[in-house]
């Protein structure tokens, strides 16, 4: 979803504020919340992609008005209620009413759901040096393809190996395993052409987020052609 959490490249959050000698937790409840969420994930009550999506589903004004562990609390409560582990009523009775999310969980993207048939694909489509474009995807569900990368061109720099796609995993979809790549984007491509020439952003992107760059002849095609020629 195109939520407020997807804030890479935004302005308007003011200057950085730092704190001296910061503790791991600023209050007892922060440590408890951290531990509760980790334990619930570890025990399989929900997975980390569902948890992230639940954080993303906090209504935008509330998201920006919450501290980090307040968002964890909202997300954990949302999932406990949605999964029927603890009912909304039980939590309300104890004085811990869950805050309603901005949208329901069941927003499995049509495209993502359809492509479940590819679940077993583990062959890498791209290789380091390949030129790619981050696809202009706007699923209403969870994704880890940041808006600021979409429709922009980059270069595959590293293949991290095979991982489960969050876009389906956050929605009870089939576990789509596929390669994740470190993709290099120039600042001049992501932002203004006036951005510094020697700034680059490296984003880790699942294969489904990428397409061959139509603007440059694919290295892959080049390689195949070469191999073909050798065989002749």
């Amino acid at each position: 979803m195109n939520g407020i959490h997807d804030m890479g490249g935004m302005d308007g959050f003011g200057p950085l504020v730092r704190e001296k000698d910061e503790p791991a937790f600023h209050a007892n409840w922060e440590g408890r919340m951290f531990a509760i969420a980790n334990l619930l994930i570890g025990q399989g009550y929900f997975n980390v992609d569902e948890f992230r999506h639940a954080i993303e589903r906090i209504p935008a004004p509330r998201y920006l008005d919450s501290t980090y562990y307040e968002r964890w609390l909202d997300a954990a409560q949302t999932l406990l209620a949605e999964k029927g582990v603890v009912t909304r009523e039980e939590m309300e009775q104890r004085g811990a009413a869950p805050h309603p999310p901005s949208q329901p969980a069941a927003a499995l993207d049509k495209t993502a759901a359809k492509s479940g048939k590819d679940a077993a694909r583990v062959r890498a489509k791209f290789r380091p040096g390949d030129r790619v474009v981050a696809r202009n995807l706007h699923p209403f569900g969870h994704t880890r393809l940041a808006r600021y990368a979409r429709a922009h061109r980059g270069i595959i720099r590293h293949d991290h190996g095979v991982y489960v796609l969050p876009d389906t995993n956050a929605h009870g979809g089939p576990p789509r395993r596929q390669h994740v790549y470190s993709v290099e984007f120039k600042a001049t491509e992501l932002w203004d052409t006036g951005a510094p020439q020697n700034e680059r952003v490296y984003i880790d992107l699942w294969e489904d987020y990428l397409a061959p760059d139509p603007k440059t002849p694919a290295r892959r095609a080049g390689r195949k052609a070469q191999r073909g020629r050798k065989r002749r």
């Binding site: 959490h5 804030m7 890479g8 490249g9 935004m10 308007g12 959050f13 003011g14 200057p15 950085l16 504020v17 730092r18 704190e19 791991a24 937790f25 600023h26 209050a27 409840w29 408890r32 951290f34 531990a35 509760i36 334990l39 619930l40 025990q43 992230r52 919450s66 501290t67 980090y68 562990y69 307040e70 609390l73 954990a76 409560q77 582990v85 603890v86 039980e90 939590m91 104890r94 004085g95 811990a96 880890r144 393809l145 940041a146 600021y148 991290h160 994740v180 470190s182 992501l190 932002w191 510094p196 020697n198 700034e199 680059r200 952003v201 490296y202 984003i203 880790d204 992107l205 699942w206």
Partner: protein, 205 residues
């Protein structure tokens, strides 16, 4: 409400978490001692001293440095370092001509086993939004003015990889032991928002 993602005023969250924990314990869903153990781990055992040991070893042991850059997860495991959010570690190395910076724009992913839990500023909206768009301006606010000809590489941890920066070894540290060097390594230098200052004269040795 500062845009900083952190308030010092107490809120209803404390009471809500207390109620939630009690409810989950009553239902046998979470074990209070398991919660205690997790809190204790991140308050006392896991933190940037781990990362500092890794950096100091990389500075003094070229073979380790090579293994660290090739597979950081395996390399730090040699030092007994492992755990959640450290399953797929990547180390990126600063040089006089390249400066690395880590961020997670979508949430606040961070390499817990080597750096501990992230500071509030790392989780702040200002950091998450600006690191990828205006890294030089952001670093300036940290007091780090990089020459224009230094290349900046920003690593946005949007998948399972967790990044740590191997900062440059400062001048004036020839002959220092691995332990002494580890003392110099700051958390901020391993996120990439600071360099390591040369040791004060005579302070160590």
């Amino acid at each position: 409400m500062t845009g900083n993602g952190h308030r010092t005023i107490p809120t209803g969250a404390a009471l809500r978490v207390k109620a939630l924990e009690a409810l989950l314990e009553e239902k046998g869903l979470v074990d209070p001692q398991a919660l205690d153990a997790i809190v204790d781990t991140y308050e006392t055992k896991v933190g940037p001293r781990n990362g500092a040991r890794v950096v100091a070893k990389a500075w003094t042991d070229p073979a380790f440095r090579k293994r660290l850059l090739a597979d950081a997860t395996a390399a730090v495991a040699e030092l007994g370092i492992a755990g959640p959010e450290g399953e797929h570690l990547v180390a990126v190395e600063n040089t006089p001509s390249v400066h690395n910076l880590i961020v997670c724009t979508l949430c606040s992913c961070y390499p817990w086993p080597v750096l501990g839990l992230p500071p509030v500023w790392y989780k702040s909206f200002a950091y998450r939004s600006r690191a990828v768009r205006d890294p030089r301006g952001l670093l300036r606010e940290f007091g780090l003015e990089l020459p224009d000809d230094v290349e900046i590489r920003v690593w946005d941890a949007s998948a399972e990889q967790r990044y740590m920066v191997i900062p440059e070894r400062p001048a004036g540290t020839v002959g220092m032991s691995e332990e002494e060097l580890a003392e110099l390594v700051t958390r901020d230098s391993m996120v990439g928002v600071a360099k390591i200052a040369p040791p004060a004269r005579g302070s160590s040795r």
